[in-house]
Amino acid sequence: MSAQAQAAPQAAHPQDELLRTDRIPHIWCSGCGIGIAFGSLMAAIAKCDTPRDDISVVSGIGCTGRLAGYIHLDSFHTTHGRAIPFATGLHLTRPQNKVIVASGDGDLLAIGGNHFIHAARRNVDLTVICVNNFNYGMTGGQLAPSTPFGAKTTTTPMGSPDEPFNFCALAAACGATYVARWTALHIRRLTTAISEAMNKKGFSFVEVIAPCPTAFGRRNKIRRSLDLLRFYYERSVVKNHLAPGEATIDFDNKLVVGKFVDIERPTYLDQYDMVNRGELEAWPATGVDASAAGQRKAG
């Protein structure tokens, strides 16, 4: 009797219902920040009212790209950089779906950079979560568009000569309706940000600054994941509603985190429906005065 009581199955992890538990433990290294971002995403999905059948997760190639394979929802692991085009198609065929794109910095903003800016410009109703670990972790730590100036990677052993992208400023400049950045240690705020982004109509972007001890930390003399996590957190300054252009990732002075943009804009589907219903007004809205044409003197 007592032996049976001892052998009673251990309680399951509360997030197991959203995990493909047969694939766990996952491939991410010890102390990788993607797991924390993934946990936040699952917590946000668990809080969401949408039926599970109407949530889908799309990811590209890379460490973060593996995320789609671990979540127990409709998910798709696309080719390199093409997570957003696939998600756009999915959204247009199933407009009731909440489509979440979760991928890495190299996938979303290097090879998929053009798709990213145009999806933000058209304001396609997607939730994009970018896990930024400052390098291409899966292939061995090469230079990525997010690598800080001067940081060492496999392909820049003497330090990166390039200025990195500011993803939040880029997304905001392209017309995203929701832009936020948090480090992997701001877990509760990150979960709130992902929840808000999922409920936001339009292109919403959440950047997660995550430690990569194996590829990035090791070459920059911060070998322990715990130190890297703390390093990002200690240098972060929370500044909500700051102009995204000023939200720099500066490791010496201030690594600005917070919610930068939260606006309303008609989405791609709204405008496309308007065109199809023939409700679009003539362009330009002010009309053209033909008699005045050519009257303006040159010079």
Binding site: Q10, H13, P25, A43, S225
Partner: protein, 86 residues
């Protein structure tokens, strides 16, 4: 906890109590839960799991207040806490 004066409703406040469970086989020994546990409930084990990592052990179960921070910070989904009746 030390207060500069005794809170007026100190008798009414109920501190929740938690029970931490570690899924040893999933752990990869990153120590996040041990360092960020505000109550010092966890410590690194001396033994290994099947993959050769040390995993956290509950050394002070009475101190846990069920804040769930170990649960949300664990990148491996290997630790969680549940509320326990007082």
């Amino acid at each position: 906890m030390k207060f500069w004066r005794e809170p007026l409703d100190v008798g009414d406040i109920k501190v929740t109590k938690g029970k931490v469970t570690v899924v040893e086989e999933r752990c990869k020994g990153c120590e996040f839960c041990i360092s960020y546990c505000s109550r010092g409930v966890l410590a690194m084990s001396q033994t290994f799991n099947r993959k050769g990592y040390h995993f956290p052990e509950v050394v002070a179960p009475k101190l846990c207040v069920n804040c769930h921070f170990c649960e949300v910070i664990c990148p491996e989904f290997a630790i969680f806490s549940q509320e326990e009746d007082q």
